[in-house]
Amino acid sequence: MKKVIIGLMFLGMLVACTQDEYVVYEPIGIVPETLQIVEPVGLKLENTFVSDKVSVNVKLPSDGTYRLKIKDIIGNLVSQEKLSAKEGDNILSIYTTSLEKSSYTVELQTEDGILLGSSVFVMLN
C-alpha cells in the first residue's frame, strides 16, 4: 500500500511538471497598449528612439513564415530575420547593438515579398 501511494505521488509530480511546461509556452494574449495595432495586419514599434533593443508587435494574417528586414536610408538590407509566427499579435524584439548608430526602417514582409508593415526608428547615441 505504501509503495502504491509513493508511486501515485511520483506520477502526480510528473504530471505537474508537464503542466508547468505547458503554461510557460502558452501564448500570452495581452498586448501592451503601446504595441496595439488596430488594423488586421501590421507592425508597430514600442518607441521611435531605440538604445539597444526595442519591442515590436508584428500582427500577422495567418500562421506562417515571414521576414523582418532592417534597411538603411537607401534601402539596403543590413539585417534580416526569417521567422515562423502565428496569426495575430506577436511581441518580438529588434536588437540594434550590431547596427551602426543611425536611423533605419524595419519592414515586415511575407516570404513572397509582400509588405505588411513598416516603421522608422532612430538609434540613440
Binding site: 488596430v38 521611435t48 528612439f49 532592417i70 550590431s98
Partner: protein, 564 residues
C-alpha cells in the same frame, strides 16, 4: 453598442481629415548674401487643424556643392524635455513618389526613395515628447556657409534645401497626422562675391562620408622645415575653402582619415576602413602573381600603376615614401600571401606602441594608409616634383586632388587616376604576354539571401546564393556579442577552396578564395554560421548585421551582392 463604439473609435483614428499641420522652413538671416556668409535656416510646425503631435520626424536635404554645413541646434523652447535626434548622410537625394504631391510630406513618407547623388546631404530630424510639441516655435536651426558656385555645376542658388517627407503623430492616441508644406524648397538670391580671398581644394574620393577626411596645409620651408598653417575637415562634397594663403607661396596639401584619439594609447579608426581591403583586392594580387620573373617578382599587369603601388604592402617602413613622394613598387608572393593572411586573421599581432607586426593595409587594425596628390600627378609612375605642392595666386584659386588608400587594389574606395600612369618602360612591359589582372571597375550585381533564424536554441545564419563563376566571396558580419557567442562556420564551398573565418570581438569576416582562379564557389548554401545565445531570446532580428558582401569572378570582376 460596444462594437459600434469600437468601430467608431477605429474610424476616428484611421480616417484622414486632410491637412492637419504644416512644416515650415525659412531663412532667418536677412539678404543680401555674399559667398562665405553664414545663413541660418529654421524649421517649425504650423497648426492647421488642432493637431497635438508628440512625435515630429522629417527628412530634409541640402545641396553640399552650394552650402557647407557649419552647425545645428535644437531649440524647442516649450518642450525642453523632448528627446531629439539628428541623423546625417552624405551622397543621397530623394526622389518623391510621383503619384502624390511632393509638398504632401506625410504621403511621401516611405513612398519615395533615396538614390545616390554626391551633390546632396540628407538629415533626419526626430523629436518626441510626452506633451504636445508646440506649434510655431522653432524646432531646429541649422547654419550653413554659402559656397562659391564656380565649378560647382550649378548656375544659381535655387532649391539649396528641400523637405522630403514627414511622419508626425500623437503617440498618446495613435493618431497619424496629414502634413503638408508651403516651403518645400529654399532658394537663395542676391549672392555676390567670389573666390578672390578664398582658395578651394576639391578632393576626388569615391567614399560617401567625405567629412571623415581631415586636411592639413603646410607652408613649405626647405631650411627650417614645413610649418602647419591650416587644418580642418573636408565638407560633405569633399571640398575645403581656405582663406589667408599668400600669393606665390609654396604650400603642401594632404588629406587623411584621422582616428578618434579619445584614448591616445588606442586610436579608434572608423569601422568602414575594414570594407576597403576585401576578397576582390586579394584576388587581383594573386592574379597579378600568376606570372613571375626569375626572381619571383610579379610580372602581371594592373590597369593602373597605382594599383601596383597599393598592392605592394611588404615594403619596409623605412622604404615607404616620404613627403608624399611615390615609391618604387615591387609586388611579389609575400604581398599576395600577406593580403590573404590579413583577411584570414592570421597575421602576427600588431603592437601599435612598438610598430612590430605592422603592415600598411588600410584597416581599423593598422589605420588609414592615405595617399593624396594633385589630380594630374596621382598614380603616375614618373613624377619629378612633390605631387602635393601647390602655389596659389589670383588666377589659381581652385586645386584638384585625388585620394586613395594603400591596399585598395581594386580602387573601390580610391579615386581612379586620370590615365594608366605607367611610364614608357611600364607601357612596354604591359604589352608582353602576361596574365592581366585587369578588372571591370563597374561591378556586377547579384541577388543573395542572408537571414538569421532561431532553430533549436541556436541562431543560424545562412548565406544562400545561385551565383556561379565566383573564384572568391567575402562577408563581413557584425553581431551583438553581449547576446550571442560565435560557435562555428560550416563551409560548403567546394573541395578546392581556401576558406577563412576571421573572428574578432563582435566582428566576423568569412569567405573563400581559389588562389589559382580555376575553381568556383559552390552555389546553394556555401556558408552557414552558428551562434549560441548567452541569454534567452524570442527572435533574432538585428542580432547580426551585414557589412561587406561581395564576390569576385574568375576574370577579376567584383560581384556586389544585393540581399533580398
Amino acid at each position: 453598442m460596444k462594437n459600434l463604439l469600437t468601430m467608431l473609435l477605429i474610424m476616428v483614428t484611421t480616417i484622414s481629415f486632410g491637412q492637419d499641420l504644416r512644416i515650415d522652413q525659412s531663412i532667418i538671416t536677412p539678404a543680401p548674401y555674399s559667398v562665405g556668409d553664414t545663413i541660418t535656416i529654421k524649421f517649425n510646425t504650423l497648426d492647421v487643424n488642432s493637431s497635438v503631435p508628440t512625435l515630429v520626424q522629417f527628412d530634409y536635404q541640402y545641396n553640399n556643392k552650394l552650402l557647407e554645413k557649419i552647425s545645428h541646434e535644437f531649440k524647442l523652447p516649450s518642450n525642453t524635455s523632448a528627446m531629439t535626434s539628428l541623423n546625417h548622410w552624405d551622397g543621397y537625394s530623394w526622389t518623391p513618389n510621383s503619384n502624390v504631391s511632393s509638398a504632401d510630406l506625410s504621403s511621401q513618407y516611405q513612398q519615395g526613395a533615396y538614390g545616390t547623388n554626391a551633390d546632396w546631404s540628407v538629415e533626419r530630424i526626430t523629436v518626441q515628447d510626452g506633451t504636445p510639441i508646440v506649434h510655431s516655435q522653432t524646432i531646429f536651426e541649422v547654419k550653413f556657409r554659402i559656397k562659391d558656385k564656380i565649378n560647382s555645376g550649378y548656375g544659381d542658388y535655387s532649391e539649396v534645401t528641400i523637405l522630403n517627407w514627414a511622419n508626425v503623430k500623437d503617440n498618446s492616441t495613435n493618431t497619424t497626422y496629414e502634413v503638408n508644406t508651403n516651403n518645400r524648397q529654399i532658394t537663395i538670391s542676391d549672392v555676390s562675391g567670389g573666390t578672390l580671398n578664398a582658395v578651394t581644394f576639391k578632393v576626388d574620393t569615391p567614399i560617401s562620408n567625405k567629412t571623415s577626411y581631415k586636411y592639413s596645409i603646410d607652408e613649405v620651408n626647405n631650411t627650417s622645415g614645413n610649418q602647419l598653417i591650416q587644418t580642418g575637415n573636408l565638407d560633405a562634397s569633399g571640398e575645403a575653402i581656405v582663406s589667408g594663403l599668400k600669393d606665390g607661396t609654396e604650400y603642401r596639401f594632404y588629406a587623411y582619415v584621422a582616428p578618434d584619439f579619445t584614448d591616445p594609447q588606442t586610436p579608434v579608426y572608423p569601422a568602414w576602413l575594414d570594407d576597403i581591403v576585401t576578397i576582390s583586392d586579394v584576388y587581383l594580387v594573386f592574379n597579378y602573381m600568376s606570372s613571375t620573373d626569375i626572381d619571383g617578382n610579379g610580372t602581371g599587369t594592373f590597369d593602373y600603376y597605382i594599383q601596383k603601388q597599393f598592392a605592394d604592402i611588404t615594403q619596409l617602413q623605412s622604404e615607404l615614401p616620404q613627403e608624399g613622394q611615390p615609391w618604387v613598387t615591387n609586388v611579389n608572393d609575400n604581398d599576395s600571401y600577406v593580403f590573404l593572411s590579413y583577411l584570414a586573421g592570421t597575421l602576427p599581432t600588431y603592437n601599435n606602441q612598438t610598430g612590430d607586426g605592422f603592415y600598411p593595409i588600410t584597416s581599423t587594425k593598422y589605420g588609414s594608409m592615405n595617399y593624396t596628390m594633385l589630380s594630374d600627378k596621382y598614380g603616375m609612375q614618373t613624377i619629378t616634383s612633390d605631387p602635393s605642392i601647390f602655389i596659389p595666386s589670383p588666377t589659381s584659386t581652385v586645386f584638384n586632388f585625388k585620394a586613395g588608400f594603400n591596399g585598395d587594389v581594386d580602387l573601390s574606395h580610391s579615386a581612379t587616376p586620370l590615365t594608366s600612369g605607367y611610364d614608357n618602360v611600364g607601357k612596354s612591359a604591359r604589352n608582353g604576354k602576361v596574365k592581366s589582372a585587369s578588372f571591370q571597375k563597374v561591378p556586377e550585381t547579384s541577388n543573395l539571401d542572408i537571414n538569421t533564424q532561431l532553430v533549436g536554441g541556436k541562431v543560424i545564419m545562412e548565406i544562400n546564393t545561385t551565383k556561379t563563376g565566383m573564384a572568391g566571396a567575402q562577408f563581413n558580419l557584425t553581431y551583438d556579442s553581449n547576446i550571442l557567442e560565435f560557435s562555428e562556420v560550416i563551409f560548403d564551398t567546394g573541395n578546392e577552396m581556401t576558406n577563412f573565418a576571421n573572428h574578432n570581438g563582435g566582428k566576423l569576416f568569412i569567405g573563400s578564395l581559389d588562389l589559382k582562379g580555376e575553381q568556383t564557389v559552390k552555389t546553394g548554401t556555401p556558408y552557414k554560421v552558428i551562434f549560441t545565445p548567452k541569454q534567452s531570446i524570442t527572435n533574432t532580428a538585428g542580432l547580426v548585421s551585414f557589412g561587406v558582401k561581395e564576390g569576385v569572378k574568375t576574370d577579376g570582376t567584383k560581384v556586389k551582392f544585393n540581399i533580398q
